[in-house]
């Protein structure tokens, strides 16, 4: 009987090895392990064996069953895999055809820049504040040390609505509003982005509407060197670590001393080229130490508090950073322009 079992095993394994399709494999399984299968047939004759022989043959029989089962499983796996490979091959597509279009939107370039600058200053402990675009003469001018009749009012051509109301010409009124709100009671660290308006004829470099970002830092013992440090940090993060800054004396009625900040020209590295008009420097923003009159009018004691303020044109930053050459492009919203910068 042992011989018989061994014969069945070798015959079954040979057949399993020889087949190449799932159906045949199934038939083989039935032929050997099924109810009417040959292994089952042999085992059925076990009853005729002696008590001593039975466990020995039983063990052999189990081994044979196991061997056949294993072989069947292995073969089945191979065949399934082959079948799947075949199917996947049949499912192949032309991956060179274009993909299904997804609509892609994006932010306006000015928003990207405003948010970048907001995040940068938030990282330095500033908060973001907003103010009205229709301002009072008081906040737009008087509270900023520009009383009526001040010659520097001519620097900014103003859209008036009435004698007392106007389109703000800068974001600086938010300085006065913020300090007034804090009532001289605590330090101020804020930036304020927003739309501003000037009585200008629109052309490549002028726009009657544009965007400014204002900054204000008021505390005890604020030094002009702090302004220099903060502006340097800003310039390097915004324009690149290799950039240098330069402060030049300037004039704004609401700061004293006042400065203009230049950064070294990226194109020529400071040697002078057509972009920087030969100077090696590019003007970026105006800043200065908050004028004591401004502090005082807003309720801050200039003997105790000092501070600095700065303001920049977002369009100018965008034009420098991304080579936009016509300020009107920010407002015509040509889709080709918007798309070009939506990941800026």
């Amino acid at each position: 009987m042992k011989e018989q079992l061994e014969a069945i095993q070798s015959e079954a394994l040979e057949k399993i090895d020889g087949t190449n399709n799932v159906k045949e494999l199934q038939e083989i399984k039935v032929a050997y392990l099924g109810k009417k299968g040959s292994l089952t047939g042999v085992l059925r004759g076990m009853g005729k064996l002696s008590k001593e022989e039975r466990p020995v043959v039983g063990e052999i029989a189990n081994k044979v069953r196991e061997a056949i089962t294993d072989a069947l499983e292995q073969k089945s796996e191979i065949l399934e895999q082959e079948a799947m490979e075949k199917q996947l091959e049949a499912e192949a597509i032309d991956i060179t055809l274009p993909g299904r279009q997804v609509k892609v939107g994006g932010p306006h370039l000015l928003t990207s820049i405003v948010e970048e600058i907001e995040d940068l200053f938030i990282g330095m402990g500033f908060e973001v504040r907003e103010g009205p675009e229709v301002e009072t003469d008081y906040y737009n001018f008087e509270a900023l040390n520009l009383p009526k009749g001040h010659p520097a009012r001519d620097m900014q051509d103003t859209f008036y609505l009435t004698n007392e109301l106007l389109m703000r010409t800068h974001t600086s009124p938010v300085q006065a509003r913020t300090m007034r709100e804090f009532d001289g009671g605590k330090p101020v660290r804020m930036i304020c982005p927003g739309k501003v308006y000037r009585r200008d004829t629109d052309d490549a470099t002028h726009s009657h509407q544009f965007t400014q970002i204002e900054g204000l830092f008021v505390d005890e013992n604020v030094r002009m060197s702090d302004l220099k440090g903060i502006l340097d940090t800003f310039a390097k993060k915004m324009f690149g670590q290799e950039r240098k800054i330069r402060l030049r004396p300037s004039y704004f009625p609401f700061t004293e001393p006042s400065v203009e900040m230049d950064i070294s020209c990226k194109v020529c590295g400071g040697d002078g080229c057509s972009v920087c008009k030969g100077s090696g420097w590019i003007e970026i923003l105006g800043a200065g130490m908050v004028h004591p009159n401004v502090l005082e009018m807003a309720g801050y004691d200039p003997e105790k508090y000092s501070g600095f303020a700065f303001g920049m044109g977002t369009e100018r930053i965008a034009m420098l950073k991304y080579g936009v050459n016509d300020i009107r492009q920010f407002y015509t919203n040509d889709i080709r322009f918007l798309k070009q910068y939506h990941n800026a």
């Binding site: 055809l97 274009p98 299904r100 279009q101 997804v102 609509k103 939107g105 994006g106 932010p107 306006h108 928003t111 330095m124 500033f126 973001v128 009205p132 675009e133 229709v134 009072t136 009749g149 010659p151 520097a152 859209f159 609505l161 009435t162 109301l165 389109m167 330090p187 739309k195 009585r199 009657h208 830092f217 505390d219 013992n221 604020v222 030094r223 002009m224 060197s225 702090d226 220099k228 903060i230 330069r246 402060l247 030049r248 004396p249 300037s250 004293e256 001393p257 400065v259 203009e260 130490m289 000092s306 920010f330 407002y331 015509t332 919203n333 040509d334 889709i335 918007l338 798309k339 939506h342």
Partner: protein, 808 residues
């Protein structure tokens, strides 16, 4: 202000420094130099020639054949200038000379005759035409007789000069004079300064016997000085003066006019010369003009005046607008022999008002407006007398006839070394401060680290400590300030909830495929009433107009973002860019006042405009056009994201497609609208089919803050039940949905529409809509009979309310 370096060198030694280096130093110290202009970059081999003879060219009518003595040589030159004549001294470019514009002079033959050089006009030598004296504009320049034949023209005509263009800030009026510039440059270069002395020899005659001066409004005119100069000979000014004037951008006229202009530039003090004889009076009265009084000014315009304007009169009528412009009737001309020279101090507000009302702005008015130096007024008058004596043969009468209540005192500012260093973050020493004050030539007293500074009157901008802080800092050098970061308690910065939400909303919209735009807040008359959201319109907002718009295009503050946004769509479509999905987040400006007395309400809106193809897969013939449901889906997604219950209600609104428009409502309050533009509006605006929305973000933000709470994820199972109703065509799917939600509450958690059809399988005039209902209870598992009961009630209600029946 144009600053001739050759002129400047008369007052301060600038050494070998190049114009570029000097410009850089001046810029870094506080006055921005906008540009450097060289009168002529090259003018070698150009000399003074004497025209020995001048005859007609044998073969050309309009040309002359000249024999010219150029000192070391005699040249035959052909010249076409109409004013060439024998006996003139002229500028000759010899062969080999290179004129501005890289124009090389060679020997040539003109109509068969040899020409060995060129006789030049000032323009050909590099002088800008608008500054060239009128009689030399159309021809060659003729030198005065006293120049040496063969002499170098470069020096004679100041062609080797470099002119710095100053872009002055309003505080630096001191640099509106060559003296002021000299002080600045001397401080920067640490050089001594030499100013001319006003040395006048006066005659025995007393000016007081010629004129008296009376000032009625001393607040506006605290000083008026009148000088009388007789026996003048009107002629061209000396060459050097013409050169400096031209370099400074002023055209030479005649000696008297030129001298007043020269002194204006030199001292920063405007002067005015009246023809004494034409004044027809022995009296000068300065007063406010009478209402309606007129004066014909030098430009031959009649000006009607008011009491706001200060005038100089001869006791009877105005003869000049104080500080702005003289009258035509007393103008100096070729026949003038006696001049009354005015050197006065008019306060800036007096002049500013006249300038504003007349639109006349001149070199004089600019200086008065910005403020002049009270200590230089009379000196400038004397300087002009000196020059009139020297260059116009004038006889200066003894005494200045004057009214004088002028405050000439210096402002006193106290500074302290410690305080300066505390404010600047520096460690400047007492010795360095002394050095800086000396460089600036400010008088001061020092007591240890305390200084009392007497700010000179030429620097009217210095009045407080901070002004001196700036002076010290700028001469010390901003480059020398250290870089520090603020000390003291720092705080954490963050966006406010609203600011963060605005960013989140933008990100959401961009994620759906919308592109952000920014349009102008100011719009035109045609747009101002268009596409205003119903809840805004309902309160009858008053359009707000600019008092003085630049153009009609930007005159009104917008009441809706949509018209300008649609303008950008049109702009793109006109450029064959038709597939557009735009949004803008920005304010509108609402007031209900007819005459604005307070700031309008700035109310944030979200507007969108979509047109053309949304997405496309050409090789699969797939093309999704923008439509109402796409637009609605974007908004539904937004409100879902914000978790605020906004409903869409069918509506008919002006300029909107009557069958494809809805209002947005939040708790029964309209907060915006959505829909397709009316085809007529589309046609009028030259737009393709366009879908728009407009949302009141103030309401959205308010609802968001009030309502957004986080509920637990439900623990108990949900059960779905579907049902399809056969409804009349007119019945709105949303109404039925609302009825289901209402009837099914609180057990029905969610109702979705999953199938809508009309046609073959539905009876005529009917449609089938299938709803999927989700039952869920927060605290228990619902039983079958509970659901069954609710479900039947819903069917009954819908059937009876809409005449519907359930599709089997």
């Amino acid at each position: 202000m144009l600053v001739s370096l050759n002129w400047l060198k008369n007052y301060v030694d600038i050494g070998m420094i190049s114009p570029e280096e000097l410009a850089e130093k001046i810029t870094k110290s506080g006055i921005e130099v906008d540009g450097i202009e060289y009168i002529a970059e090259k003018s070698e081999n150009v000399v003074v020639g004497y025209v020995e003879s001048c005859e007609k060219h044998p073969n050309a009518d309009k040309l002359n054949l000249c024999q010219v003595d150029v000192g070391d040589d005699k040249l035959q030159i052909i010249c076409g200038a109409p004013n060439i004549a024998q006996g003139q001294k002229v500028a000759v470019a010899k062969p080999g000379a290179v004129l501005p514009g890289n124009f090389k002079i060679k020997k040539v033959k003109l109509r068969g005759v040899e020409s060995n050089g060129m006789i030049c006009s000032l323009k050909e030598l590099g002088v800008e035409e608008k500054y060239v004296p009128k009689d030399a504009v159309d021809g060659i320049f003729v030198f005065p007789d006293n120049v040496t034949i063969g002499g170098n023209v470069e020096a004679l005509l100041n062609l080797n000069d470099a002119v710095l263009e100053f872009d002055l800030t309003p505080n630096r009026a001191d640099a509106l004079s060559m003296h002021g510039v000299a002080y600045e440059v001397a401080a920067i270069l640490n050089q001594p300064i030499q100013l001319p002395e006003e040395a006048v020899e006066v005659s025995d005659e007393d000016a007081n016997s010629y004129v008296s001066v009376e000032v009625e409004d001393k607040d506006l005119n605290p000083y008026y000085g009148a000088f009388i100069i007789k026996d003048l000979e009107i002629k061209p000014s000396p060459l050097w003066m013409c050169n400096y004037l031209m370099a400074a951008g002023i055209r030479p006229i005649n000696n008297v006019v030129d001298i007043t202009n020269y002194v204006l530039l030199e001292y920063g003090q405007p002067l005015h010369a009246f023809d004494y004889d034409r004044l027809q009076s022995e009296k000068i009265v300065v007063r406010r003009a009478k209402q309606g009084e007129t004066l014909v000014t030098l430009d031959d315009q009649e000006r009607t005046l008011s009491e706001d304007h200060l005038v100089i009169t001869n006791g009877l009528e105005p003869v000049a607008l104080a500080g702005v412009m003289g009258g035509a009737g007393t103008e100096v001309n070729e026949t003038t022999t006696t001049v009354l020279l005015e050197a006065a101090y008019f306060v800036s507000s007096a002049v500013r008002k006249t300038v504003k009302d007349t639109g006349l702005r001149s070199e004089s008015s600019t200086r008065f407006e910005k403020g002049i130096d009270p200590n230089r007024v009379k000196k400038a008058g004397l300087r002009a007398c000196q020059l009139l004596q020297q260059y116009a043969g004038g006889k200066v009468l003894a005494n200045t006839v004057e009214f004088d209540e002028l405050d000439r005192s210096e402002k006193v500012v106290e500074i302290n070394t410690t305080e300066i260093n505390k404010r600047l973050g520096t460690e400047i020493t007492i010795a360095e401060i002394i050095d800086i004050l000396n460089k600036l030539r400010f008088n001061f007293e020092q007591n240890n680290e305390d200084f009392t500074v007497y700010a000179p009157t030429r620097r009217g901008d210095i009045t407080i400590f901070e002004d001196m802080l700036e002076e010290v800092a700028r001469i010390y050098g901003y480059d020398n300030l250290p870089y520090t970061l603020p000390v003291g308690a720092s705080q954490a910065g963050a966006l406010t909830e609203r600011q963060q939400l605005k960013r989140d909303i933008k990100n959401y919209l961009q994620g759906t495929g919308l592109m952000e735009t920014i349009t102008y807040s100011l719009t035109n008359e045609k747009n101002i009433g268009k596409l205003i959201s119903p809840e805004v319109q309902e309160n009858n907002p008053e359009p707000i107009a600019l008092a003085m718009p630049m153009t009609e295009d930007h005159k009104y503050l917008r009441l809706s973002l949509l018209p300008e946004l649609l303008g950008t769509l049109g702009y793109n479509q006109a450029r064959n860019q038709s597939n557009l999905a735009y949004y803008e987040l920005g304010p509108i400006y609402i007031t209900h006042e007819k005459t604005l007395t307070k700031q309008p309400d700035e109310s944030l809106r979200l507007a969108g405009a979509l047109s053309g193809t949304w997405t496309e897969q050409p090789w699969q013939q797939e093309k999704k056009e923008v439509d109402f449901y796409l637009t609605k889906g974007i908004l539904e997604g937004l409100f879902d994201f914000l978790q605020i219950p906004v409903l869409f209600k069918q509506a008919k609104l002006p300029d909107m497609h009557p069958g494809r428009c809805a209002t947005l409502t939040l708790h029964d309050e309209v907060i915006g609208f959505i829909g397709q533009l009316h085809p007529i509006l589309e046609k009028n605006m030259d737009l393709k089919e366009t879908f728009v929305f407009d949302v009141n973000m103030e309401k959205v933000f308010a609802a968001y803050s009030n309502e957004s709470t986080y509920s637990q994820i439900p623990k108990y199972p949900s059960i779905a039940r579907d049902i399809a109703f056969i409804l009349d065509e007119e019945v709105l799917a949303g109404d039925v949905k609302a009825t289901i939600e209402e009837t099914g509450a609180p057990l029905v958690k969610k109702v979705d529409i999953f199938d809508v059809y009309q046609g073959e399988n539905a009876p005529d005039g009917k449609k089938s809509i299938a709803y999927s209902l989700l039952y869920q209870h927060p605290e228990k598992t619902l039983k079958d009979d509970e659901i069954e009961e609710s479900f039947n009630e819903i069917i009954e209600t819908v059937n009876s309310k809409y005449g519907a029946y359930v599709r089997s």
